[in-house]
Symmetry: C2
Subunit: 439 residues, 2 copies
C-alpha cells in the first residue's frame, strides 16, 4: 500500500468524536486533507496509510470537535466587569446602555470582537453565534481570526449609533446577507432583540424574510419573569405564544435564555422544532431564573449552550459554561443523573451546530466534515487521576488547558499560542478602551 | 531615617486586604518579617523604610489573603472522576464506599492529601479544613507542604480501615489533639460525620469534649431532603434541632452544606452563633439542593466556603467555587445584588478564618497577622479590560492565574511553581493509584 499525501495527521492520546455517542478512541490518529476530516485510524495504521505535510503528536491530549458558543455579544467584552452586582434595570439603564450609547462605533465593535475571539479560541471555541451591531465589522474581524460565525443582525424598535429603526436594521442586515451569501464560515441570521423590544409589525417583516430566505432567527426570549408578565399585560399572551402568532417559531429559530417556562411553553417549542440556547452563567449572575434543561431535553428539544456577552458572565470560556450547565441542570431537575458528561459535551458541540444549521459541516469528528477541532492537555494536577476523559473535560476546569485549535483545517492555536491574532496588541487595545470608557 | 532590615518586601499593583472592607490599594508594598505582616505602605515609602532580604516585584498582580477552603476530604482527590452523574445512594453505595473500603490506608491518605494540597496551593488556598481518616498521616502531609489546616477527625458509628466504632475514632482523635496542641499551623477539630451516621450517645461524648477542650465541631448537616425526612421519622425532629438538644450547636460549630433550611433552622443557627460552610458545586452536582446564602448572611450568620472532596466537585479551585457561589446566591435569592464581589471574597477569606477560629491570625492582610497571602496575575486576555480588581477575581476564571503563595511568611508557590512539593512525582503517584483502583 502506497502512503497517501495529506496535509495534517494528528496522533492523539484520546479522540472523542461526539458522533457516535459516548465513543472514546485511545491512541488513534486523525487525518485531515484540505478543509476536511478524511479518517480516524489506530496510530500504527495511520502512520502507514498517510504521508502528512504536518504531523502533531498530542500524546497527553484529548482531541474533540471545536466548541460552538451559540449565543453572545462579542464586542461587549470591552465592558467586562464595568458594572456588576446590580439589578437588571439599573445595570442596563444606568451603566451598560449609557456606555454603549457613548462608545458604540465600528472601532468599538472591531476591537471588542477581536478581544472576545482571542478568548474564545484560546478556550476551545471555534464557532460562535453573535448578536450585536456594525455587523460587517464583525464579519471582517471573524475573517481575520479565521473563526466560524453566525452573525445575527440585531433588530430593534429604537435607534442606536448603528441604525435608526427596525426597517433600517433589517435593510442593513439583508444587505449583509447578500454580501456573505455562500461564504463557508460566515452565516447571517436575523436577530430581533427580544419580544419586548420589537413591535408586531417589525416581527412580521422578520418572519417574512426568515421564511423566504430560509434565514435563522436568533432571539432573547422569556429571560425574566418581568418580561413574561409585561407581555401578558400588553399583548394578552406570553412571549412564546406571541412569537408563534407572528410566525416566528420556525425550525431555524434559536430561542435564547428561556428561564421562565411552563409546560405549555415547552410544548410550543417542541411542536415547532425550535432550538433553545441555554446561558446558565448569565442567567445566574443576573438572577434571571433557571432554564429547565432536563425537561427540555426529555421533550426532545435541541438545547445548545452560550456564554452570553462578557458584560454579564464575565468570561467566554465555554468549557466553564458547560461545567456550570452540567452541575446546574442536576440541581434544577433534582436529579444528579441529568446532563451527564457526554450529554454536556454534545450540548457544547453537535447541539450548537444543529441550532445554527451547521450540523452537516461541524459539531462532530466524522469523515467528510470540516476539520474544526481542538486539543486539550490533560497533564496537570487538577486533571489527575484520569479515570474518564469525558468527566475530566466537563467536571474539571480545562478551558485554559486547550492547546490547539483548527477551523476548516487551518490552525488558529498551537501550543496555547494564538496564530491569527496578536495577544499583546489586543491587551493594549483593551487597556485603551478601558481608559476611554471609564474616564 | 535608617532602613529596617526585614525578610520580605512585595511591591504590588493592587493589594486587597479584605479588612477594612472594600479597600483596594494601588501601587503599595507589603512588608513581612519572620511569620508576620509588619506593614503596608506606598511603594516609594516602603523602599525607603525597608531593606529586605527578598524583594518581589508583582506589578501586574493582585495580592490578597490566602484563601480558606473550609470543607473538604483531601485524600478523596484520588477518586476524582471515578464515578459521576449518579444518584447519591448508588454513587456512595456502589462506587465510592466500595473503593474506599478496598483502598483506604495510610498510604492512600498521604498520597491523596498531597495531590489535593498541590492543587489547592496552585489555585490560591493556603488554609483548609479537612475531614477524613488516618489523621496523623494528614498532619504529616500538611507539615511537609507547609499549609495551614484544621484536621477534623471523623466520628462514625460504623467501622473503616481506620477505626472500629465511635469510641475508637474519638480516642484516636483526642490523642492527635494532644500531639498537635499548640501547633501554629495545625488545629484538630472533632468531625462527627453527619447527624444520620452518628448515634445520640456518640454525639453526647463529642459535645462533652468539644465543650471541655474548646474544640471545634465540623459536621455535614441537612445536606439532602432525605436526611431531614429520615431524622423527623427516626428522632421526631429535624437534624439541627437534634444537634441543639445534644448540645452540639456551639459558637465553634461548623455546619457544612445546609441546603435544606426553613426559617426555624436559620433561627437556630443564628441563636447559637454557629458557622455555615457553603459548598455550592458539590451541592449542585449531587442535586442536594440550594443553600440560602443571602438569607443566612442577612441573618448575620457567618458563611464560609468549601469545595468538598474532589469526588463530588471535581476540583479544589476555591476561586472557581467562589465564582459559582456568587452567581448562584444571586439566582437563589432572586436578586443580582446578593453576594457582591467583595462579599464573595470575604466568604473565601475572613469568613473561613472565623469559622475555623483562626481570624486572629489569618483571613486579612493586617499588621500583626500571619503572612498567609497569595498573588494573582491579571495580565491575560480573559481579565481584560480591568475596571475593577475585585470583580475580576470573582467573575473571571483566575484559579490558574495564581502565581505566588506564602504561609506564615514561607513561600509555597513562586511564578506558578510549587516549592514544597514535586509536581511530577504527584502525577506519577496519582497514575499509580488510578491503575490500582480501576483494576
Amino acid at each position: 500500500m502506497q502512503a497517501s499525501k495529506i496535509d495534517l495527521l494528528i496522533h492523539c492520546k484520546w479522540i472523542i468524536p461526539i458522533v457516535p455517542e459516548n465513543q472514546i478512541l485511545e491512541n488513534c490518529s486523525l487525518a485531515v486533507d484540505g478543509e476536511k476530516i478524511i479518517g480516524i485510524y489506530p496510530q500504527v495504521e495511520a502512520t502507514k496509510r498517510f504521508e502528512a505535510t504536518n504531523i502533531e503528536h498530542l500524546n497527553d491530549h484529548i482531541v474533540m470537535p471545536g466548541l460552538v458558543n451559540a449565543h453572545g455579544h462579542a464586542a461587549m467584552s470591552l465592558l467586562r466587569g464595568y458594572a456588576d452586582d446590580l439589578a437588571l434595570r439599573p445595570w442596563l439603564e444606568d451603566h451598560i446602555w449609557p456606555a454603549e450609547s457613548r462608545h458604540l462605533s465600528e472601532e468599538f465593535v472591531t476591537d471588542g470582537t477581536k478581544l472576545a475571539m482571542a478568548e474564545m479560541i484560546a478556550s476551545g471555541t471555534t464557532c460562535f453565534a453573535d448578536m450585536y451591531f456594525f455587523d460587517d465589522a464583525i464579519a471582517q474581524a471573524v475573517r481575520t481570526a479565521g473563526m466560524r460565525c453566525q452573525i445575527g443582525f440585531t433588530v430593534l424598535d429604537f435607534p442606536t449609533a448603528y441604525g435608526k429603526d427596525a426597517d433600517d436594521y433589517i435593510h442593513k442586515g439583508l444587505k449583509l446577507n447578500d454580501k456573505y451569501s455562500g461564504h463557508s464560515q460566515i452565516k447571517i441570521a436575523c436577530a430581533p432583540h427580544a419580544p419586548y423590544s420589537v413591535s408586531d409589525s417589525a416581527m412580521q417583516i422578520v418572519s417574512t424574510y426568515a421564511n423566504e430566505l430560509d434565514m435563522a432567527i436568533h432571539i432573547h426570549c422569556q429571560e425574566t419573569a418581568g418580561e413574561v408578565a409585561e407581555s401578558v399585560d400588553q399583548y394578552g399572551c406570553r412571549p412564546l405564544e406571541r412569537l408563534r402568532n407572528l410566525g416566528l417559531l420556525l425550525p431555524q429559530t434559536q430561542l435564547v435564555h428561556m428561564t421562565q417556562l411552563n409546560s405549555e411553553d415547552i410544548k410550543l417549542v417542541q411542536d415547532h422544532n425550535c432550538h433553545v440556547v441555554h446561558c446558565p452563567e448569565s442567567n445566574l449572575k443576573l438572577a434571571s431564573g433557571f432554564c429547565p434543561v432536563g425537561q427540555l431535553m426529555d421533550a426532545g428539544i435541541n438545547v445548545a449552550l452560550g456564554t452570553d456577552g462578557a458584560a454579564s458572565n464575565n468570561d467566554l470560556d465555554l468549557f466553564g459554561e458547560l461545567r456550570t450547565a452540567a452541575m446546574l441542570a442536576k440541581a434544577v431537575s433534582n436529579d444528579p443523573t441529568t446532563l451527564d458528561a457526554h450529554a454536556a459535551l454534545r450540548m457544547a458541540t453537535i447541539n450548537g451546530a444543529k441550532a445554527l444549521g451547521w450540523d452537516e459541516e461541524i459539531g462532530s469528528l466524522e469523515v467528510g466534515k470540516s476539520a474544526d477541532m481542538i486539543a486539550i492537555k490533560t497533564d496537570s494536577i487538577p486533571q489527575q487521576p484520569l479515570y474518564n476523559p469525558q468527566s475530566q473535560l466537563v467536571n474539571t476546569n480545562v478551558g485554559h488547558q486547550v492547546s490547539h485549535s483548527w477551523v476548516a483545517g487551518k490552525p488558529l492555536l498551537a501550543d496555547s499560542e494564538l496564530l491569527t491574532m496578536n495577544e499583546q496588541s489586543l491587551i493594549q487595545s483593551a487597556n485603551n478602551w478601558r481608559n476611554k470608557i471609564s474616564s
